[in-house]
């Protein structure tokens, strides 16, 4: 796997800005596993970080509901492809999915599956974010890129949850 192939995982605006120098720096040769992990992590960061997407608000680095709403606003304002409507749809999908996972966690807790409940609740926001991505942040991207970013991060979350709570 080469840097040129992994560059497809990054947002178009990022590739236009940094793609050429990034490829020149890494070179055309096959990458080591550690480099692949670093570049894929960088791609996820490029999609999710308001900073990298050109926003100037340092507050977007925090957590919590207010920051989540700020991030939604920043993303819908700065993204190169999606519209305000896409931002609202993506945000709504994320909020509804988070609520559904939280309800699932409560149901599991009440039925005595404490560890499973904890795993579901702990990952509810992140998985909901992944589910919402095709509606806005990754809208219009090649399906392979969507599958790699969304499937890859979901698989990592499941693996971490299985290790921690299994």
């Amino acid at each position: 796997m080469t840097a040129q192939q992994l560059l497809r995982l990054y947002p178009r605006a990022w590739r236009e800005r940094y793609g050429e120098e990034f490829a020149a720096m890494v070179g055309p040769e096959s990458l080591q596993l550690q480099q692949v992990i670093d570049i894929v992590s960088g791609a996820i960061d490029a999609w999710l970080s308001a900073d990298v997407r050109g926003a100037t608000s340092a507050a977007a680095n925090g957590t919590g509901g207010a920051t989540m709403l700020k991030s939604l606003a920043i993303c819908s304002r700065n993204h190169t492809r999606d519209t305000k409507r896409d931002g609202l749809i993506g945000g709504a999908v994320m909020i509804v999915a988070t609520a559904l996972f939280a309800l699932l966690g409560i149901a599991l807790k009440r039925s005595g599956h404490d560890e499973a409940a904890e795993a579901v609740v702990a990952n509810s926001y992140l998985v909901a974010m992944n589910i919402s991505m095709p509606f806005w942040l990754m809208k219009g991207q090649p399906w392979k890129a969507q599958a790699a970013v969304i499937g890859g991060t979901t698989a990592i979350l499941i693996a971490i949850a299985a290790i921690n709570f299994g």
Binding site: A3, W14, E21, A24, V26, I37, D38, G42, S49, A58
Partner: protein, 108 residues
């Protein structure tokens, strides 16, 4: 700790690579590859390309570094005046922490 220093800390997991980039650019403009080599010489560890450009993007967004015209597919970056200020604050802060640490080691 000063407000300026807090801004560098606000970069989270990118604060350390960002600090290394600022230090690397302190003696003049460099492109990504030269920054990586310099950081490896400085710290013994080469930053991954995803980490490096995550930090560069954040530093650019805050106008602590700025891009220069591309030279042979490589774009050099240079430290801005506000970047120098942030770096100076952070280095001063590290010097104080190092002095306290050394003093406590000497006491123990």
């Amino acid at each position: 700790m000063t407000k300026t220093d807090d801004l560098l800390a606000s970069l989270g997991r990118f604060s350390e690579p960002a600090l290394h980039i600022l230090i690397s650019l302190a003696d003049g403009p460099k492109h990504g590859y030269a920054i990586t080599q310099d950081i490896e010489t400085l710290t013994g560890q080469k930053p991954g390309p995803g980490t490096l450009y995550g930090a560069i993007a954040r530093l650019e967004a805050r106008k602590w570094i700025e891009a220069l015209p591309v030279e042979e597919r490589r774009r050099p970056y240079r430290l801005t005046a506000s970047g120098q200020k942030v770096l100076r604050y952070r280095l001063d802060s590290m010097r104080v922490i190092a002095r306290i640490g050394r003093a406590r080691l000497a006491e123990g």
